[in-house]
């Protein structure tokens, strides 16, 4: 998923995390997933919608997602769901994300000043 210029470059890996999280709640097809991302992030994160599919395909190739053709709303669509391997990866990614957010927040709130200087 290409992140538009409105989103900073340090969001690498975030689209994958969001996709896995949303698909772990229920299986969805591409368009549905894009709408869910908008709803879930309150429109803060904007993605080029066409670029969501390459990421879904890669995650499928890696065995993190499974795709199947199903009839949804009277039309045949490719529906994605998280595999057991994907659930494991999601748990690891969420844990890593929380550690990073915690560490960055700590630094932004002046955490460095509380620690002794490592080098003079």
């Amino acid at each position: 998923m290409a992140i538009r210029k409105t989103n900073p470059a340090f969001l690498n890996g975030v689209p994958e995390l969001l996709l896995l999280e949303l698909l772990s709640r229920r299986p969805m097809y591409g368009y549905e997933l894009v709408q869910s991302i908008k709803l879930a992030t309150g429109g803060t994160l904007e993605f080029g919608e066409g670029c969501i599919y390459p990421i879904l395909h890669r995650l499928e190739t890696q065995g993190v997602l499974a795709a199947a053709r199903e009839v949804v709303g009277g039309r045949e669509r490719v529906v994605y769901r998280v595999t057991p391997r994907g659930k494991k990866q999601l748990a690891e990614s969420v844990s890593a994300w929380q550690r990073i957010v915690g560490a960055v927040n700590h630094a932004l709130q002046g955490g460095e000043r509380e620690r002794p200087a490592l080098a003079s």
Binding site: A2, G30, V34, E49, G50, C51, P54, H57, R58
Partner: protein, 236 residues
């Protein structure tokens, strides 16, 4: 720009980036569905801004670039096709030949056919001697066939271009076609002999033709199947 033109441009961009036909068809199919949803939403909200719909999707070039980048990220064989489909087939055959020959030597040992203590009148020796031509033929053909089947499966799973599988099949066919194995069982007076090498003949034997043709046939069938699946997906 209209939807058809956007999809056509996307297809052209995907093909230009040398993505496999099967993947291109699937990608265009999903994007076509996505585009239909966007246009339906636009009609239901009375929005007139068609340009905004395409802006939300991204330009065909940008979407295709993203597809190519993600596609090649996925598998080692996609990132290093020369290594996987040219170098590895060269290495795979000698490994398979040595493994097969080791199995034969161990089997002979288990049957008691070893140099220095051979009873050529024994049932085991007679049986082994009768099976020898078929064993040699199997040793020449099976590793090449197994190797071709392995690379056909690998190419299918990685969805690499058919040209890489064709390259692998040619490498296997040439190496397999040139292979020659000679086995002579030990007797009371002579030690056994086992020779493995490559030999070229202007008038190849039926076995050598088979060694050459079989890997090509296996890979050719896999390529045909890949293309047929691509066409079926396109008509779906």
């Amino acid at each position: 720009m209209n939807a058809q033109r956007w999809l056509l441009e996307l297809r052209t961009e995907l093909v230009r980036r040398k993505l496999p036909p099967l993947y291109v068809e699937r990608f265009v199919l999903e994007l076509s569905d996505h585009l239909s949803n966007l246009l339906e939403d636009r009609m239901s909200t009375d929005a007139k801004d068609l340009h905004g719909v395409f802006q939300r999707l991204g330009s065909p070039g940008h979407v295709a670039a993203s597809a190519a980048q993600e596609f090649r990220k996925a598998r080692f064989s996609q990132r290093h096709p020369v290594l996987m489909f040219v170098v590895l087939p060269v290495l795979s055959l000698p490994v398979l030949w040595f493994a097969s020959l080791t199995c034969i030597i161990l089997l002979m040992g288990a049957l008691g056919i070893e140099s220095g203590k051979v009873d050529t009148g024994g049932a085991a020796w007679q049986f082994a001697n009768a099976c020898l031509p078929y064993t040699v033929l199997g040793l020449l053909i099976l590793p090449a066939a197994a190797s071709a089947a392995f690379f056909a499966r690998l190419a299918d799973r990685a969805q690499v271009s058919w040209k890489w599988l064709a390259a692998a099949s040619v490498v296997i066919a040439v190496l397999g076609g040139l292979a020659a194995i000679d086995i002579m069982l030990p007797t009371m007076h002579e030690q056994g002999r086992l020779t493995l090498g490559l030999s070229f003949s202007r008038s190849p034997s039926a076995s050598q033709v088979l060694q050459f043709v079989l890997p090509l046939a296996i890979c050719g069938w896999a390529i045909w199947r890949q293309m047929r699946n691509g066409r079926q997906m396109m008509h779906a």
